[in-house]
C-alpha cells in the first residue's frame, strides 16, 4: 500500500481547472519529484495534500486513511509536513523558536500546566529543545551556535530555506513536501541541497515529494518523476523516461520545437 495516494483529485478556481483528475502515489521511503511548467498546478497539488485547499472531487489517502477535507493542522499531525516556495518563516522569532514551535502538534502540555510549570511540562520543554537542536544540527554549523538565538529575519536566503526544512521536520512527519528547495540558490548550494535531500531520506527516514525546476537536482535525487501540465499528469517514470517524453518536451518548449526536433 502506498504511503500517500491521490485518487482522481480535482480542483477548480471558478472556471479554471487547476488540478484535473490527478492520480498519484508515493511509496514509503521514495523520493518523487513533481515537475512541470509554470501554472501546471504543482504548488496547488501541495496545497491540496496539506489541506489548505479541499478537493472538489477525488480522495487523498495517507496510509490508507482519507485525509481529504481535514484541517491543515490535523493533516500535519497525521504526518505530512511541508516547506513553502515563497518562504514563510516566523521571521521575528528566533531560529530556535521557529523549530520549537513546530513541535506543537506532538506535544501535550496545556496552558494550566504551563502556568504552574509542572515537572512534566518542563521535561517536555527540554525534549522540544533537544529536538530543535537535533533538527538544526542536520545542517551542520550553519544554524547552530550564536544563530540559535538570532531572529529568523537575520538569516541569509539559503539559510532560510534550510531553516524551513528544519522546521518542517520538527513536526515529526512521515512524508515531507518540499516546494522548490533549491530555488534562488547558487550552484554550490544547489549541489549541497541535492545531497541533503538524499540524506533526509537515508538518515532522516522521511519519504519525500519534491517540486523542483532545476533538472540537475531532479536527476540527482529522484526515484521517480511525475510531470504535470495544466493540472493533468502527462508523464511518470524514471528521470530519463520523463525527460525524453514527447509530451513533456512539448509542455516545456512548445509544439513547434517538438515537431522540428
Amino acid at each position: 500500500m502506498p504511503l500517500l495516494e491521490l485518487q482522481g483529485v480535482s480542483l477548480a478556481f471558478g472556471g479554471l481547472r487547476v488540478v484535473d483528475g490527478l492520480d498519484l502515489h508515493v511509496d514509503e521511503g521514495e523520493i518523487v519529484s513533481v515537475i512541470g511548467p509554470n501554472g501546471a498546478g504543482k504548488t496547488t497539488l501541495f496545497n491540496l495534500i496539506t489541506g489548505i485547499y479541499r478537493p472538489d472531487a477525488g480522495d487523498i489517502k495517507l496510509d490508507g486513511e482519507s485525509i481529504a477535507g481535514l484541517q491543515p493542522h490535523v493533516i500535519s499531525r497525521r504526518g505530512i509536513s511541508r516547506t513553502f516556495q515563497t518562504l514563510r518563516l516566523f521571521l521575528n522569532m528566533s531560529v530556535k523558536d521557529n523549530v520549537m514551535a513546530a513541535a506543537y502538534g506532538h506535544t501535550r502540555a496545556g496552558v494550566f500546566r504551563s502556568m504552574l510549570r509542572t515537572p512534566g511540562m518542563r521535561r517536555e520543554e527540554r525534549e522540544i529543545e533537544q529536538l530543535a537542536q537535533e533538527r538544526l544540527a542536520f545542517f551542520g554549523k550553519r544554524l547552530m551556535g550564536y544563530r540559535w538565538e538570532q531572529p529568523a529575519y537575520s538569516l541569509s536566503y539559503a539559510n532560510r530555506r534550510r531553516l524551513e526544512i528544519a522546521r518542517a521536520t520538527a513536526t515529526n512527519p512521515r512524508i515531507l513536501l518540499l516546494d522548490e528547495p533549491a530555488a534562488g540558490m547558487n550552484p554550490a548550494e544547489t549541489h549541497e541541497m541535492t545531497e541533503l535531500i538524499a540524506e533526509l531520506r537515508d538518515a532522516g527516514g522521511y519519504t519525500i515529494l519534491v517540486i523542483e525546476h532545476d533538472m540537475h537536482v531532479v536527476e540527482g535525487i529522484s526515484d521517480r518523476v511525475v510531470a504535470l501540465d495544466h493540472g493533468v499528469k502527462i508523464a511518470e517514470g524514471s528521470f530519463e523516461a520523463v525527460a525524453t517524453n514527447e509530451k513533456v518536451v512539448e509542455a516545456y518548449l512548445g509544439l513547434q520545437t517538438a515537431a522540428t526536433k
Binding site: T50, F84, S114, R117, E124
Partner: protein, 488 residues
C-alpha cells in the same frame, strides 16, 4: 556539535563548509571589551524574576514613605492599569488581534462582582468563590465572542469587538428594565457593593475616609500572579504558537498549530485578566457605572500597551506606570504646566540632531517671548494680566501673554494658527523651518496657557495623543518593545 572558536581561524580562514560569518561573529561586536561591557553583560544576565521582585518590592514600600491617601489611591489605580495592560498585551501583543472590546470584559468583571456581592439582589458570595467564578465568566464570554469572530482578522475583528463594547454599553445602560426587572441599575449603576471579605474578615475600603492600603497589597499580589502566570504561558508551546500564528497564520497551521483555537485562547486569556481586574475595581469603588468602561478607558489602556511596547510584558507595565500617574498629574494646573514645558523642551531635544541650532532656537524663543511680552504690555496692560503667582507659574506669566479680555475669540484663532504653523513646518526648507520654529514654540506655549490650562479634561488626552505621535516617530515599537521586521 563542536563550538566554533573565533580565534585560530585568523590565519587560514574558515575551512570549506564552515561558515565564516558564524565563526567570526565575536569580532564584529560593536562594544569593545572593558568594564562597560562587563557591566552590560551582568545587567543582561539578571533574570526576569529578579527585576519583578525588585519592582514589586519598591512598589510595596511606597506606603511607608507616602502617607497621603490620594497618592496611595493613585498607586492602586496604576496597578489596575498594569493588570489591564498585561491582559490586553496577551490579545494584541501575543495573539496579534486588534480587540477594541477589551474594556467590556473589565466591565463584565466589575458588574458580575457587583451582582454577586451587593445588596442589589441580596447575594453576598465569599470573595474566594466569586472572584474565581468571575474569572471563569470572563474567559467563557471571551471564548463566546471569539467564536463568531475567529475567522476575522485586522479591521473586521476590530469592528466586531467594537460592536461588542457598544453592546455591553447599551445593555448596562438600559439594564434597569429588562422585561420589567432592574438588573444593572441603568445609568445610575449599582451602588453599595461589598468590599472583599476573605476568611470571615471584611477588608474595609477606607479607614476614616482614607484609602485602605490593604487593597494596594491585594492588587500588587494579583499583579505578581497574573504577570508570572502569563509569562509562563508565553514561555510554553502555547506562547510560541501564539507568536507563530501572529507571524504567519498559514505556516503555523501547516506546522500543526490550530490557529483558530489559539486565537480563541488568547481572547479568553485577555478577557479573564480584564474580568479579574474588574472585581478589584468594583470592590474598591463600591459602585459601578456603565460609562466607566468605555472609549476613554479603552484608548488609555491601548496607549499604555503601545507606548511601552506591545508584546513585551515589562514594556506594557512601564507604559501603565508612566501614563497612569501622568494623567493624574495633568489634572492639576501647576503640575501639568511643569510637565508641559518639560515635554516641550524634551521633545525639542529628541527631534533635533544639532545641538548648536537647538541652543539658538531655544534662546531665540525665550527672547522672542520676552519681546512680545514687553511690546504687548506697552500697548495695553490688559494683555498681560494673567495670573501673577510666585515660582514657575510667575516666570511663565512674565513670558507668555495672557490677554484675558480677548478670551472669546483668541481660542479658535490661536489654535487654528498653531495647527497651520505646524503643518507649514513640515513642508518648508530646513533653514526656514528653524526660523519658523521660534514663533511656533511660542504659540504652542500661548495655546497652552490660554486654552488648554483652563480645560484640563481634553488637554490631558491631547497631551496623551501628542506623546503617542512623537513616540511612533521616535520608537515605533514602544519603549521596551522588540524591533520587528515586516518585509525582508
Amino acid at each position: 556539535m563542536t563550538d566554533s572558536t573565533p580565534h585560530g581561524l585568523h590565519d587560514s580562514g574558515p575551512a570549506v563548509g564552515q561558515d565564516e560569518w558564524v565563526a567570526r561573529h565575536a569580532e564584529r561586536r560593536l562594544m569593545p571589551e572593558g568594564p562597560l561591557r562587563t557591566l552590560e553583560d551582568r545587567v543582561r544576565r539578571i533574570p526576569w524574576w529578579a527585576w519583578l521582585t525588585l519592582f514589586v518590592a519598591a512598589f510595596a514600600l511606597l506606603p511607608a514613605f507616602e502617607q497621603s491617601g490620594y497618592v496611595r489611591r493613585v498607586a492602586f489605580d496604576t496597578v489596575l492599569y498594569m493588570l489591564l495592560a498585561l491582559g490586553l498585551n496577551v490579545v494584541v501583543g501575543w495573539g496579534g488581534l486588534l480587540d477594541l472590546g477589551f474594556v467590556a470584559f473589565y466591565g463584565i468583571g466589575a458588574y458580575t462582582y457587583a451582582l454577586l456581592d451587593s445588596d442589589k439582589f441580596g447575594i453576598h458570595f465569599p470573595t474566594v468563590v466569586s472572584v474565581p467564578l468571575i474569572v471563569l465568566v470572563g474567559a467563557v464570554v471571551g471564548l463566546l465572542l471569539g467564536l463568531p469572530s475567529r475567522r476575522l482578522t485586522g479591521d473586521y475583528l476590530a469592528i466586531v469587538t467594537l460592536f461588542f463594547l457598544q453592546l455591553f454599553q447599551t445593555a448596562t445602560t438600559n439594564g434597569d428594565s429588562i422585561g420589567g426587572h432592574n438588573i444593572t441599575g441603568g445609568p445610575n449603576g449599582i451602588l453599595r457593593i461589598d468590599p472583599f471579605h476573605i476568611f470571615g474578615h471584611n477588608l474595609v475600603v477606607q479607614h476614616e475616609g482614607v484609602f485602605a492600603v490593604s487593597y494596594l497589597y491585594i492588587a500588587l499580589a494579583a499583579f505578581v500572579i497574573v504577570f508570572v502566570a502569563l509569562r509562563f504561558v508565553n514561555l510554553s508551546r502555547t506562547g510560541r504558537a501564539w507568536r507563530s500564528q501572529r507571524e504567519d497564520g498559514l505556516a503555523a497551521e501547516a506546522m500543526g498549530m490550530p490557529v483558530n483555537w489559539l486565537k480563541l485562547l488568547s481572547f479568553a486569556f485577555g478577557a479573564a485578566v480584564a474580568a479579574f481586574t474588574g472585581t478589584l475595581f468594583a470592590a474598591l469603588n463600591a459602585s459601578v457605572f456603565p460609562l466607566t468602561f468605555y472609549f476613554v478607558l479603552l484608548i488609555t489602556v491601548y496607549t499604555m500597551v503601545i507606548l511601552g511596547g506591545s508584546g513585551s510584558q515589562p514594556g506594557v507595565v512601564a507604559g501603565a506606570l508612566i501614563i497612569s500617574p501622568l494623567l493624574e498629574m495633568l489634572r492639576d494646573a501647576s503640575k501639568s504646566r511643569v510637565i508641559f514645558f518639560l515635554a516641550l523642551v524634551g521633545g525639542l531635544l529628541l527631534f533635533s540632531r544639532r545641538s548648536r541650532a537647538l541652543g539658538i532656537v531655544g534662546l531665540a524663543t525665550l527672547a522672542f517671548g520676552f519681546a512680545v511680552h514687553a511690546i504687548c504690555a506697552a500697548i495695553d496692560p490688559a494683555w498681560v494680566t494673567g495670573e501673577h503667582q510666585p515660582g514657575f507659574a510667575g516666570t511663565v506669566a512674565h513670558w507668555v501673554v495672557v490677554p484675558a479680555h480677548l478670551a472669546r475669540w483668541i481660542t479658535p484663532v490661536s489654535y487654528i494658527g498653531l495647527i497651520a504653523l505646524v503643518l507649514l513646518l513640515t513642508v518648508v526648507r530646513r533653514s526656514i523651518r528653524l526660523v519658523l520654529l521660534v514663533p511656533t514654540l511660542y504659540l504652542t506655549a500661548f495655546v497652552w496657557e490660554n486654552v488648554m490650562l483652563s480645560k484640563p479634561e481634553p488637554a490631558r488626552y491631547i497631551i496623551l495623543g501628542v506623546i503617542l505621535i512623537a513616540l511612533m516617530i521616535l520608537r515605533p515599537n514602544g519603549l521596551l518593545g522588540e524591533r520587528r521586521v515586516e518585509i525582508v
